[in-house]
Symmetry: C2
Subunit: 199 residues, 2 copies
């Protein structure tokens, strides 16, 4: 064993992988570069050959997290492509479930200073991120004549706000509704659509 070479060989990727593990399991507040280095078995300054600073590594980790988030939403998006209303509901449920399963990641993506800024006024420009899935789904709903509200931007923000807020309340355990079950999530998301869906 102990195949100790002076040069690691793939340190950059291992920093991201091990860093992601620590960051997502333990949270941003206790995340430290030195811990990551120690875990890998490399000196405390080694990460600086691959990342400008601590934030730089976190951003890299976040980028992988954003991909996972996108994939989690893309699944129901394509699965229910031909059922606009159901598609929007399933998108919301997937959003909430992802948040509950990955609270530390969500905090970094949405509640830290590293989060991405999205310009909601430029809906047509967005075509490759998670938000565009929501907007597309909302458009589908409006186009299929199922909604009372016709304003894409407003309806997107409305639905996003709801699932985002419920996610936050649940993942932060601000509320205690006993077991957070799939049924509860399903019920709440469907309830939230009452306003802008017919019948």
């Amino acid at each position: 064993m102990e195949n100790k070479t002076y040069h690691h060989g793939d340190l950059r990727n291992e920093l991201i992988e091990v860093g992601a593990k620590l960051l997502i399991e333990q949270g941003l507040e206790v995340f430290s570069l030195r811990k990551v280095a120690k875990e890998i078995g490399v000196s405390h300054a080694a990460p600086y050959r691959h990342f400008k600073d601590k934030e730089d590594l976190i951003v890299e980790i976040s980028n992988k997290g954003i991909e996972e988030f996108y994939n989690a939403l893309a699944k129901p998006f394509y699965e229910y492509k031909n059922q606009p209303k159901l598609q929007l509901i399933e998108l919301g449920k997937a959003y909430i479930k992802f948040a509950i399963d990955n609270p530390y990641l969500m905090k970094i993506l949405f509640f830290s200073d590293l989060k991405k800024k999205i310009d909601i006024s430029k809906i047509s420009d967005i075509n490759d991120d998670s938000y565009s899935l929501l907007v597309d789904s909302v458009k589908n709903c409006i186009a299929s004549g199922e909604t009372t509200v016709k304003d894409v931007q407003a309806l997107s923000l409305l639905t996003w706000s709801f699932v985002h807020g419920l996610s936050a309340l649940m993942m932060e355990e601000v509320i205690n509704i006993g077991e957070i079950s799939d049924e509860v999530i399903d019920k709440m998301v469907k309830l939230s659509t009452l306003g802008y869906f017919k019948s």
Copy 2:
């Protein structure tokens, strides 16, 4: 000048006051006990005569913040006491405005590990905090027959989730809807009520 006495006299309160200023203006991430001590002009270990540790001081500051939050919501609550629907809408608007005006405080209250837990299943037991204002308002709306949904718990969670989520998106600047104006907030909150209010 320089009325330097060995004993400060009111250090505990000044720690809370100066601490609150720094915490709410600059955020939790850069908040340090030593900075607070230096700002007051006292040694870096002095705070430990009044607070067990850093977290202890932050909790104390948060408690004052929770009071302010409550007051911000209590104002419209009592002002629109006899107009259930308007009361709920104004509560939501006040919530969002407070969040936008006090992002760092809101982050501590809702997105840090110091947040208070609220047991939504014990609605009847709650009678003195911000959440009870919302629940009362929802009850008023249901009682006055203005809503389609009759489930107090579900409707409370629904409305809370929406304003909470919109607050988060706005205060974190995740979205950029240009100027965050009173009109935008008003529009969104009213739109959100479409589902559970008649006509």
